[in-house]
């Protein structure tokens, strides 16, 4: 009976020991990945990111709807981001927090319009992880998603214009002839 009481005490204490560093790490945003990127942006620009409720459910539905083409969806939206954003600073901030394996594929920065786009990719076997940080005016969106190009293409194929190819060729022919 006495032993059982000890066990009852040991389990919550053990859980607290295991969970505390994880909770502290998540709260401080000092880790890497999507949350760390969002926390970093929030901290640097004194902004609050809106998370979409039931994201796990939405991500699951997206996975089913795209036949596995899309999953692991994370979205954070920051509205009213005040002040100009320095492209290099934002790039460094994301670079430090995005984590191992992520490579920057695209960076587009515009000094006049306060527009910034960063796209990172991470190979995940047959899939590819994509992390997009997009600032347009005073609104910033951070999106992470894992995509399977084979399934995505199958799904997108049905929406393609049947004569799209002809247009593409005609355009490129015109471009070359124009020289």
């Amino acid at each position: 009976m006495r032993d059982n009481r000890w066990y009852a005490l040991l389990i919550p204490v053990g859980l607290a020991i295991v969970m505390t560093p994880m909770i502290l790490l998540a709260a401080s945003g000092s880790g890497t990945g999507f949350d760390a990127v969002v926390h970093g942006i929030e901290g640097r620009y004194h902004a609050h990111a809106n998370r979409i409720p039931f994201m796990m459910l939405i991500s699951g539905i997206a996975g089913i709807a795209t036949h596995g083409g899309v999953h692991g969806l994370h979205i954070a939206e920051i509205e009213n981001l005040q002040g100009p954003v320095d492209g290099k600073e934002l790039n460094d901030l994301v670079e430090q927090r995005v984590g191992k394996g992520w490579q920057r594929m695209i960076r587009e920065t515009s000094r006049d319009s306060n527009d910034q786009t960063l796209i990172y990719v991470k190979p995940e076997g047959e899939r590819m992880g994509l992390l997009v940080v997009d600032l347009s005016g005073h609104e910033m969106d951070v999106v992470q998603v894992s995509v399977d190009p084979n399934h995505i293409d199958d799904d997108m194929g049905q929406f393609r214009h049947p004569h799209g190819k002809r247009h593409d060729h005609a355009d490129s022919d015109r471009d070359t002839q124009g020289d």
Partner: protein
């Protein structure tokens, strides 16, 4: 003392140059040069695209499946899948001549090695702008393309590494961040060379 500083600078430049040369020799994409950083600081709009072999293979999967039946389109897809890397830097400036002839020369020097041959060197007398096209030839096969297209308010640098089919190269323009104008310059140069 001054002499030591000069010697140290020369040595540092040598290390940077050999590093860049070895990067190209290994068919890997280059690290951004200090000139690119200063150009980016001056530009009003900067686009940087870096795609390695894995990313290109991934991107190729997004190419229209309906076109798979077409031999030409399959060839383009195969070409993209076999590329080793695409490196694009596009700088837009608000004023004319926001870059110097020395900066262009330094960017041109980035491509130096026995395998790289100049294909086009187009200049207007008295103007900084112009177009340079270099190709990397290995055993008579084109294994790389470097385009430096300098317009009054825009500077585009395109490096494509890997086996290239010049007939299919038009399809790369407008894709993977490669400016259409840069590819037009290559096609134009090819036509001129054929005359």
């Amino acid at each position: 003392m001054k002499r030591y500083k000069v010697l140290a600078s020369v040595l540092a430049l040598g290390i940077v140059a050999s590093g860049a040369a070895s990067a190209f020799a290994q068919d890997s994409l280059p690290a951004a040069s200090p000139i690119e950083k200063t150009l980016a600081d001056r530009a009003t709009h900067v686009t940087e695209v870096t795609l390695d072999k894995n990313m290109l293979a991934f991107a190729a999967k997004f190419m229209d499946k309906e076109k798979d039946g077409d031999k030409d389109d399959k060839a383009v897809k195969d070409m993209v899948q076999n590329l080793k890397g695409v490196y694009v830097r596009d700088y837009e400036f608000d004023k004319d001549n926001s870059y110097t002839a020395e900066e262009l020369a330094a960017l041109r020097k980035y491509i130096q090695g026995s395998d790289w041959s100049p294909m086009v060197h187009e200049r207007t007398k008295g103007a900084t702008e112009g177009t340079d096209v270099y190709v990397k030839l290995v055993d008579g096969q084109i294994q790389g393309l470097y385009v430096l297209d300098a317009e009054p308010k825009e500077l585009a640098l395109v490096l494509i590494l890997g086996p290239l089919d010049m007939d299919k190269i038009s399809s790369l323009g407008g894709n993977f961040g490669i400016p259409k104008d840069a590819i037009k310059s290559v096609k134009k140069a090819e036509k001129e060379a054929g005359k």
